[in-house]
Every structure is written in structure tokens, then in C-alpha cells.
């Protein structure tokens, strides 16, 4: 194997050395570099990175839940409406009924859970397709938002705004940087090193499985640490008073927690099993209804959180909140490599997919492109990204999206081979 191939195979692989997340990340880097040049360096400036994080954190929170919903073989169209509904309920409770804001957040999560239970009940226990249930929910909770809020805008108090617009505070000696952000970066570097060591350790316990070559492991660590250091310095070195946003921290915690859940626990694996083959999962002892109920409910809770982060950022809840968020979240998940038919996809992929869309959006705005063109370009990009991937799969070549679908090479190749095979055989048969 040539070094280049080895590199492609192993870079950014995470715990399993044979992952190929190379392509999508490459796309992301290409877009960033492109806009960095186009905007004369604006893209990677501290201020822009911070704004970008605040602006897209809530979409990424949604895409975490959406990934799980789509992996299980469903879809959720109601997230924007649910976010808006929870936003107005919390805003009213905190502002007009003087509920302390931490309790307000708790209330929002509970309302999200109730809505999720409602939708999960119809999907899992009555057996109505999630598309229909959440289409109904989309109308229902949009209407609910306007009914409760009287189609008015309701402001939220100072403390509450922190979850959307707050930053890590300034503490400790003056270093010219935000100290807590530096600390966070340091922790992230330590985590990367620990993870790499741990992955090698696990891999060596597997007889017959080759750990990634050492030079690749080192290179990967160096690259990731370099990225982390760069990003940390950018976030820490912005205008005084700004630093890494609180919403970014919420997102990071969720990404870590849900990645762990989907990859390393039985519950997470059950979601993939249900999406891959529901009947087989059922006959293996997976409680189908419970899994379906859980993913739908979880989605609404995350939608509630996203709604609150957005309200906090814009300092008020309004009737237009959350419009077409579901589409952004779904696009992020599919660009990030999930399969429409379920069973494939990763949280990490969805986050990268969301980042691609965010950088694209942000870059286009920075270059002064009108919102009409932004939408057209985003639409074409989504279609193009998935089409290129499908084409690559058919040609039996490396598939960017496939490489993200599961942190395992063989898995995607198998799936690709199967679907192409099926297409080839079925299409002519159907025509004949």
C-alpha cells in the first residue's frame, strides 16, 4: 500500500484505524480555504468564527437528534415548530410569570419531552409514519406558538440570554487571551492524545487486527492538535469580552455525549439495527417500539434546547422562529453521509455536514452574495454532494459520504455494492 493510500485510510480515523473520513473533511477544508481567499482573510478571523459558532450551534444541536431519527429510518419535520413553541412557552414563563430562568430552561426541556412523547407515541405505538406525524406536528406547534404568543415577540431576561449569546468569562492572570478558552483547548489536545493511545491499545487487544501505522497515528495527532491550537487561539484572542461561546460549549458536550451513546452503548447500536433491518432487529431481541419512541422523543427535547438557545441569542421569542430549521438539519445529516433508507450515518459526519453548510452560508454572505443566490447555491451544493457520492458508489470508487456513514470501511463498501447490485438487477426487470 502506498503511503498516500495509507494516509487516506487512516487520517482522522478516530478509534477504528481504518476509517475514511478524509473526503468530507477535505471538502470542508477546501471551502474554508476558498472563502478565506475570497474574503481576504475574513472567514478565519476571531469575530467571524465566534459569530459562526453562535449562529449555527442550534442547527447542529438539531442535526444530532435528526441523525438518530434518520438512522432509525424516520424523519422529523416538526423540529422548527417545536423549537418555536418551546421558545415562546419559556419566554412567557420567564418574562411574564417571573419564573427564574434556570427553571425556565428546565421547563422548556420538560415541554420538549412531552411533545416528543406525544409524537413518539403516534410513531412507535400507533405505527403512523413519522413523516405524517411530524408534518402534523409542524402545523400544530407552529399554530401553538402563535396562539400562545399572540403572534407577538416576547423578550427574555439577561441571565437567560447567556446560553445563546454568552461567552466564557475572563478569569485569572492577563495573558492577552481568554484563559478559560485556552484551558478548554488544552483539554481538547489532551483528549485527542488520550483517544489515540486508547484506540491503539484496544486495537492491539484484537488479534489479527492491525493498528494504524505509527507514523500515521503521530501525523494524525499532530494535525488535529495543530487545528485545535489554531482554533483555540482564534477563539481566545478575539475582542475582549468575547471568547468561546456558551452555545458552542453546549454543542460540544452534546456531540461528545451522543457520539459516545451511538457508538459505544447497546442502546445506540439498537438504533442502527432498527434502521438497518427492523425485522431482524426485532428477532434479535431489540425492543422496536421503545427505540422508535426514544429517537422521536429525544429529537423533540433537542429541538426544545435549540429553540431556547436561539431565543437566548436573539433576546426574544417571536412567531417566525425556527422557520425551515428542519430543512437545514436534514441537509446537514445527509451531506454528512446518512442513508435515506436508514441504518447508516454518524454524529460526527452530521456535524461536519452542518459545518460545510454553515461555512458556505457564511462565506457567501461575507462575499456579499444575495440571499436568493445563497439559497440557490446551497440547494445545488446539497444535490451535487449527494449525487457525486451516489455516482462514486456506482463506479465502485471511494465515496465521500459513504466514508462518513460509519467509521468502518468495509461497512460502506458492502452497502454500496449491495444497493448498486440491486439497482442493476431490478431496474431492467421492472422495465421489461
Amino acid at each position: 500500500m502506498s503511503r498516500m493510500k495509507e494516509l487516506q485510510k487512516n487520517l482522522f480515523g478516530g478509534t477504528t484505524s481504518n476509517a475514511r473520513q478524509f473526503g468530507m473533511i477535505f471538502t470542508l477544508v477546501a471551502i474554508i480555504v476558498f472563502f478565506q481567499i475570497q474574503t481576504g482573510g475574513l472567514t478565519l478571523q476571531s469575530g467571524n468564527l465566534i459569530a459562526l459558532t453562535q449562529q449555527y450551534a442550534y442547527i447542529s444541536v438539531l442535526s444530532i437528534g435528526m441523525l438518530m431519527v434518520i438512522v432509525a429510518g424516520h424523519i422529523d419535520l416538526s423540529v422548527g415548530s417545536v423549537a418555536a413553541f418551546v421558545g415562546i412557552v419559556v419566554a412567557k414563563a420567564v418574562t411574564e410569570h417571573d419564573l427564574p430562568w434556570p427553571l425556565g430552561i428546565l421547563l422548556g426541556l420538560v415541554v420538549g419531552a412531552l411533545i416528543g412523547a406525544w409524537q413518539g407515541f403516534w410513531v412507535a405505538y400507533v405505527g403512523i409514519p413519522a413523516f405524517i406525524v411530524t408534518l402534523a406536528g409542524m402545523l400544530l406547534f407552529r399554530g401553538g406558538n402563535q396562539y400562545i404568543g399572540n403572534a407577538d415577540t416576547v423578550p427574555v431576561p439577561e441571565g437567560f440570554r447567556d446560553i445563546g449569546a454568552g461567552y466564557l468569562p475572563e478569569v485569572g492572570p492577563s495573558t492577552g487571551y481568554n484563559n478559560l478558552t485556552l484551558l478548554l483547548g488544552l483539554l481538547a489536545c489532551a483528549a485527542v492524545v488520550w483517544r489515540e493511545l486508547r484506540a491503539r491499545q484496544v486495537r492491539t487487544q484484537m488479534e489479527g487486527a492491525e493498528p494504524a501505522p505509527l507514523w500515521i497515528a503521530v501525523l494524525r495527532m499532530v494535525v488535529m492538535i495543530a487545528v485545535i491550537v489554531f482554533v483555540t487561539l482564534r477563539f481566545a484572542g478575539g475582542r475582549v469580552g468575547t471568547s468561546f461561546p456558551i452555545s458552542g460549549i453546549i454543542l460540544a458536550v452534546l456531540v461528545l455525549a451522543y457520539s459516545f451513546y451511538t457508538r459505544n452503548t447497546a442502546g445506540g447500536r439498537h438504533i442502527y439495527a432498527v434502521g438497518g433491518n427492523a425485522r431482524a432487529a426485532e428477532l434479535s431481541g431489540v425492543k422496536l417500539r421503545r427505540v422508535n419512541f426514544f429517537v422521536m422523543m429525544n429529537m423533540s427535547i433537542l429541538a426544545a434546547l435549540a429553540g431556547m438557545i436561539f431565543v437566548a441569542r436573539s433576546a426574544a421569542s417571536g412567531p417566525q422562529d425556527g422557520l425551515s430549521w428542519e430543512l437545514d438539519a436534514i441537509a446537514a445529516v445527509f451531506i454528512g453521509g446518512a442513508a435515506v433508507s436508514g441504518g447508516l450515518g454518524t454524529i460526527g459526519g452530521s456535524i461536519v455536514g452542518g459545518l460545510v453548510m454553515a461555512v458556505l452560508n457564511n462565506g457567501l454572505q461575507l462575499t456579499g452574495t444575495g440571499s436568493d443566490m445563497v439559497q440557490i447555491i446551497k440547494g445545488l451544493f446539497l444535490l451535487g454532494a449527494v449525487a457525486l457520492d451516489v455516482y462514486n458508489k456506482k463506479q465502485g470508487r471511494f465515496s465521500i459520504i459513504g466514508s462518513l456513514t460509519r467509521s468502518n470501511r468495509s461497512r460502506h463498501e458492502a452497502a454500496a455494492g449491495e444497493s448498486v447490485e440491486a439497482n442493476v438487477v431490478k431496474q431492467p426487470a421492472a422495465r421489461s
Binding site: 478509534t15 481504518n18 484496544v202 487487544q205 484484537m206 488479534e207 489479527g208 487486527a209 457508538r263 459505544n264 452503548t265 447497546a266 447500536r269 442502527y272 439495527a273 438497518g276 433491518n277 425485522r279 431482524a280 432487529a281 426485532e282 428477532l283 434479535s284 431481541g285 425492543k287 441504518g343 447508516l344 465502485g396 460509519r406 468502518n408 470501511r409 468495509s410 461497512r411 463498501e413 458492502a414 452497502a415 455494492g417 449491495e418 442493476v424 438487477v425 431490478k426 431492467p428 426487470a429 421492472a430 422495465r431 421489461s432
Partner: protein, 515 residues
């Protein structure tokens, strides 16, 4: 040997996929008007060869040449090969369940009059075609309402709606019962008399012997030999030797049963159909399984064997009406699959692709899927343990794969079945119910699967084998129950079992004296 030029000659066909040479210099010569059987183990390249022939893999994507009716054929797609009169009928039927027989026969090929579909002509032509294949049904019947045997006939009628010269059947009898298979074979003989050439891919050696004029044996993507049946006669051992590359002393490994006490008993099990509640799918069925015993269930397709097994396995089928399950003398309640697994039951489904495996999974994930708790520590999946477990099964069951990281779709049928068996062995069950454990599996792999089944019994587990192949049941089982229309109609011990007795009890409600 006739001196007439052959209808079809495939010369030195080589087809490579990335990393795999699926076919290498394959030769196939099919004479006009003969029935030509192709046999070989799964993965030997039979299907690939047929895909090359029918244009699924277009001209240019393989090396070698196809001479068809005296000229070189360069098919760009299936359409092109069909226009030339080559029609392939796949194992998985390509019919639309919600459409009628007529609509299916003419799908994509509808007779038209002034741009509109001429249903009158279609119907009368359909009746003609149905008579030709011996299908007695109302042409307006929906496909989903007729059995799989009749569906196969519709598929053949569909081939005849086009002008077929060379009919290719991929495992045509795999899903058929004995009667339907016989009918199909008779039909092929009839076609031969009308000058239609057939290529048949099959695993069933007795059928091949009965019907084929020539037999081409493939192994590992190469032609081993072509046997001219009329001249040389078909020798089953020779075919098997050619397919697997070695002698199979016996179809079944040696096994001395060590049978213990009755430990599993089902009494008066009655199950209703999930949709039409008045139908009883299992009627008052009672049976026992001893430790170390292999118990067979014989019956025709649709007799209710699978339904019985699945309803026992945590009520995965139908509506429970009455009946009890005893294990080790105590009554147990199995209301869900989780209950069933917890009580030491395992059910290996007859359809491993549709319900046995998640085809997106790799081998190691599949192996541990039914008992994740065994590799979970403090709520976290232990990937190293998962790998080790899968690796152990790869070795002990001899699953042919470079690593257990490989996707299950990359495996041949026999190896996939081994993965499914490993998945259930991993749950450490006391009773395994194996539904058609060797369906669609080649001779060599079958032998290995039998060995695994016997090994499981030797470990003191009870094994229930449901099979439509009587020789398999007779060769493998210590005791056989016969099932007919949802009821158990007989119980036959190994020494009394022969195809005739079994068949008699499989087709009659009268309960014969048990031995």
C-alpha cells in the same frame, strides 16, 4: 454429438471486480434445443456468468466473447439481450405484488392499440401463455394472492410474452415444494420439445440429473468440465467432486447422538393468523425435544412450520390463542423475543437476508447483535471483546473472510449462514430452532453446517431443524415430526424415516400410528 453449430458459445470470459477475479477464462457451449445445467458452489461465478450473458454487465466490461446464433453478441444492457431472445428469470422474482397476473405478464411490454393499452388482447394472450405454462388461475388474480410456485410460472409466462429463444433460470426450484418443482421440470422438458433452449442454475443434483442434457461445472470462477449426459451419463459423485474439488465421502458428517432427558416441551400450541383471526395457523401442536437431540420438522411449504417456530420464539408471529411451553419441567412464559432469548431459545430464520441479518453490518457486529449485554461493561460496549468473540467464531466455524471487520454482504450464502449461526451460538442457547438452515447454500457449505448442528447437539443442546429437503431431515435428525396444515400429523424416529412415509404424513391430516 450433433454437428450443428451451438446456439451459444461463451469464449474465455474473464470478469474482474476491484480486487476479485470473479470469472477467469470461462467456457460455456450451449447446443440448440438442449437443457443445460450449470452447477457450482455459491461464489463459483454462476450468477456473474449469467449477468455477463444477459447484458447486466455490458459488453466491454469483461474480456472474452459471446457467440450467439453464429454472430458475436455485444449486449449493452438487459434490453438488448432480451431483444435477442435471451430471457433470465432470477431467483428473486421481479413481479409487482399488487398487480394482476395479466398486468405482470405484459409489464413494460403492453400490447397497444392507438396508444392505449389493449386489455382485451392482453387478457386473451395472457390466457394463452398461462395455458402454455400450465397455470390455472383467473388472469385478474393479484400476484400476492397466489403461491410462490405459481408466481414462478407467471414469471415464465412473462418470458414467453417476449420472443424467447434462450431461457435462463436461476435456481428456479429453490423456493418451490416438491410438486411445484416437478411441474416446473416437466414444463422445461415441454419447452425443449418446442425447440426452446434452457440454461438452468441449480443446487439440486437430483433435478439436474433428471433433466439436463449437458452439465457445466464451475468452481472458483473457472470451468471445471462440461459433462454430456447422453454420452457419458451424469454421475452425482463426479458432479459433487467437480464442484467442491474433493470427494465428499458422505453428505453428512459422522455423528453419534448422545440423547438425554426431555427438557423442552410444547403442549397444545394454538395460534391464530395475525390478520384473518378465524384462521388457525397452528392447531393444538405438541412436541418434545431432548437434550442432545436433533428434531426435524417436515412439511410442505405453508404447512405452518415457520409460524409455529416464530410464535414460540417470543410470539413473533400470529396471535396467541392457547398452549403451554415447559422447559426443564417448569412452565415458562415467552411473551417477547427478549423473554425467549433470556430463557435460552434461539431462532435462526429461513430468510437470512430479509430477517436474519442487518446487511449494513459487518461480521463482528452481527455476531454479537442478539446479546450485546455479553460484551457490555458498565454500560459501555467493549470493542476488543466484540472483536475477540467474532474472531473465535470465525475460526471455529471456518467463516471464509479476511477479517471480521468485513461487511456481511461480502460473504457467500454459506458463510452468511455461519455468521447467523454464530450470532445465535453467542447467546448460548439451550434450544436452537433452525429454519431451513441450508437453503441456498452449496454442497460443501451444507456439510459444514451439518457438522455445526451436530456439534451443537453434542454439547447437550436441543436442536430443532425445519427443512423442506427430506433427505436432509432423514440424514440429520434423530426424530422427525410431520406437519400438515398447521397440525402435527406424525412423529417418526430416525430408523423408520424414509421419504415415502414422511411425504405421506406431510400430505394428510390423518394421524398415523407413531412409532
Amino acid at each position: 454429438m450433433s454437428t450443428a453449430p451451438p446456439l451459444l458459445e461463451m469464449r474465455s470470459i474473464t470478469k474482474t471486480f476491484p480486487g476479485v477475479k470473479a470469472l477467469s477464462e470461462v467456457q460455456l457451449t450451449v447446443r440448440d434445443g438442449e437443457i443445460h445445467a450449470i452447477c457450482g458452489e455459491n461464489g463459483a461465478g454462476k450468477s456473474t456468468l449469467m449477468k455477463v450473458l444477459s447484458g447486466v454487465y455490458p459488453y466491454g466490461s469483461y474480456d472474452g466473447s459471446i457467440i450467439y446464433r453464429g454472430a458475436e453478441a455485444k449486449f449493452a444492457d438487459i434490453r438488448a439481450s432480451e431483444n435477442a431472445g435471451i430471457v433470465i428469470i432470477h431467483q428473486e422474482l421481479a413481479l409487482v405484488p399488487g398487480m394482476s397476473i395479466t398486468e405482470n405478464i405484459f409489464l413494460g411490454n403492453e400490447p397497444r392499440r392507438f396508444g392505449r393499452i389493449d386489455w382485451k388482447a392482453a387478457n386473451s394472450k395472457a390466457l394463452e401463455l398461462m395455458a402454455m405454462v400450465g397455470l390455472k388461475e383467473d388472469p385478474d388474480t393479484l400476484i400476492k394472492d397466489i403461491g410462490v410456485g405459481k408466481q414462478q410460472l407467471v414469471e415464465i409466462a412473462k418470458a414467453f410474452a417476449k420472443d424467447v429463444r434462450l431461457l435462463i433460470l436461476d435456481e428456479p426450484t429453490a423456493a418451490l415444494n416438491e410438486n411445484d418443482s416437478q411441474h416446473l421440470l416437466d414444463l422445461l422438458r415441454g419447452f425443449k420439445e418446442r425447440g426452446i433452449t434452457s440454461i438452468m442454475i441449480s443446487h439440486k443434483l437430483n433435478e439436474i440429473e433428471a433433466i439436463a442434457d449437458s452439465i457445466t461445472i464451475l468452481r472458483d470462477g473457472r470451468t471445471i468440465e462440461t459433462i454430456d449426459v447422453k454420452g457419458e451419463g451424469a454421475d452425482e459423485d463426479r458432479i459433487v467432486r467437480g464442484m467442491v474439488g474433493r470427494d465428499l465421502g458422505s453428505r453428512f458428517p459422522d455423528h453419534v447422538p448422545d440423547i438425554g432427558e426431555v427438557f423442552f416441551e410444547v403442549r397444545n400450541w394454538t395460534i391464530r393468523h395475525p390478520i384473518s383471526a378465524e384462521r388457525l395457523v397452528c392447531k393444538n401442536s405438541s412436541f418434545t425435544v431432548r437434550r442432545g437431540e436433533i428434531v426435524g420438522f417436515a412439511g410442505l411449504m405453508g404447512a405452518g412450520r415457520t409460524e409455529l417456530a416464530m410464535s414460540l420464539f417470543g410470539r413473533s408471529y400470529g396471535v396467541y390463542e392457547s398452549g403451554q411451553i415447559f422447559k426443564d419441567g417448569k412452565e415458562i412464559q415467552l411473551k417477547s423475543v427478549t423473554d425467549a432469548i433470556a430463557n435460552g431459545l434461539a431462532y435462526v430464520s429461513e430468510d437470512r437476508k430479509a430477517v436474519g441479518l442487518n446487511l449494513l453490518d459487518d461480521i463482528k457486529t452481527s455476531v454479537v447483535a442478539a446479546k450485546l449485554s455479553k460484551i457490555t461493561r458498565h454500560g459501555v460496549l467493549d470493542e476488543a471483546a466484540e472483536y475477540r468473540q467474532a474472531e473465535a467464531y470465525r475460526k471455529s466455524l471456518r467463516i471464509k473472510t479476511p477479517t471480521v471487520d468485513e461487511g456481511v454482504t461480502k460473504l457467500s450464502g454459506g458463510n452468511q449462514q455461519k455468521v447467523v449461526l454464530a450470532k445465535w451460538m453467542f447467546t448460548d442457547p439451550d434450544l436452537l430452532i433452525l429454519d431451513e438452515p441450508t437453503r441456498g447454500i452449496d454442497v460443501g457449505a451444507k456439510y459444514e453446517i451439518y457438522g455445526i448442528i451436530q456439534e451443537l447437539a453434542s454439547e447437550g443442546r436441543g436442536v430443532v431443524v425445519i427443512s423442506s429437503e427430506l433427505p436432509e431431515l432423514i440424514g440429520l435428525c434423530d426424530r422427525i415430526y410431520t406437519v400438515f396444515e398447521g397440525a402435527i400429523t406424525g412423529e417418526i424416529s430416525r430408523r423408520d424415516a424414509n421419504p415415502e412415509t414422511l411425504m405421506k404424513q406431510m400430505t394428510s391430516t390423518k394421524k398415523l400410528a407413531t412409532s
